[in-house]
Symmetry: C2
Subunit: 218 residues, 2 copies
Amino acid sequence: MTSSFSEQSFAFLMYPGFEELDLIGPWEMATMWSAYADGPACFTLSQTGEPITCAKGLKVTPDYSFATAPDFDYLMVPGGFAALEEMKNQAMNNFLADAASRAESVLSVCTGSLMLYAAGLLNGKKATTHWKMLPEMKTFDGVEVVEQRYVHDGAIWTSAGVSAGIDMTLAFVADMAGEAAASIVQHNAEYYPDPVRYGGEAAADTSPAYVRALVAAE
Amino acid sequence: MTSSFSEQSFAFLMYPGFEELDLIGPWEMATMWSAYADGPACFTLSQTGEPITCAKGLKVTPDYSFATAPDFDYLMVPGGFAALEEMKNQAMNNFLADAASRAESVLSVCTGSLMLYAAGLLNGKKATTHWKMLPEMKTFDGVEVVEQRYVHDGAIWTSAGVSAGIDMTLAFVADMAGEAAASIVQHNAEYYPDPVRYGGEAAADTSPAYVRALVAAE
């Protein structure tokens, strides 16, 4: 038995109404890891395996259902307003709790962290979410809400809204496989983003602390 | 007849093997524009309308085929290694040439610009592509290759690789609808990316000029 990274696997969870970039940003980084730096095999799964319409209308089809999916080492959970409905889905909560008991790491983007909370995975953890849901998350018992771009607390990684999953996944690659692997992923995805901030929204009172700090530093 | 922006439409081109984030990054920005700042309606289309497997294995289904798609004002063309095959697809070339003659703007990400070239859309234009294809693109007649994150030349917008389409689309929103609209899109997508560059790949000789300038400025 070898323990080559390429024999590991990374599952990406889909559900009706998930936010497109929440999943596909991390998917692109993880699959670049697979393609160019010996990263884990990546696949998608959902409760039923049936075709799904995303939050903004993109139509996708998961590779597997909960029943047919192979084992995995890492799990990515996207957000979207639909995550608030999934918090009440007992089959989803059971899946997440079981996954967390067997997987090495569970990661969430945006309101995906609310699903982790509903499944009991954030007890005693630091975590974050989309800025719109920070006030709600701060009412949750047992979670320390941190207003960062992403938060790593043991086996649980959570990110801020939508695009923040890209940054979290690169940091995850660096943590798991080293900075050289993250460098290769970043370069192939040409992820050297433009730092421009348009208009005044970043300075809003509702902006998360990490964004207000960027504004204040100017 | 009003000319409200929300009555305009933005088509997103799919083809077998397109690179996931090339399309979904811009899609997320454009659909946030629709959802929160009166942006155009967004839809996906492909030559046949049949289900498609993307470069890294994501399974998607277009909303329309070339034959069934409604008219559109803007068109987004993603890249991927498969774009090199699409350059030889006469039906694709015809579609792109026809689209360019009727649409207000045509945008491409990554090697999508090579498809615009094959369709005759880059004659006399400044344009860019993924750093891997810059040497190839520089052999093309009639195109001025610019090593920027994205390039706007009249009705044609082209971006560098994969993730660069996000930055281009935000700039496109700012250009079309104003900085306040781009600010709302950026804030809802929480696109305040981490500026970290992992490892040494960014400093490679093959890095595009805009990335080498970032490294040199440190």
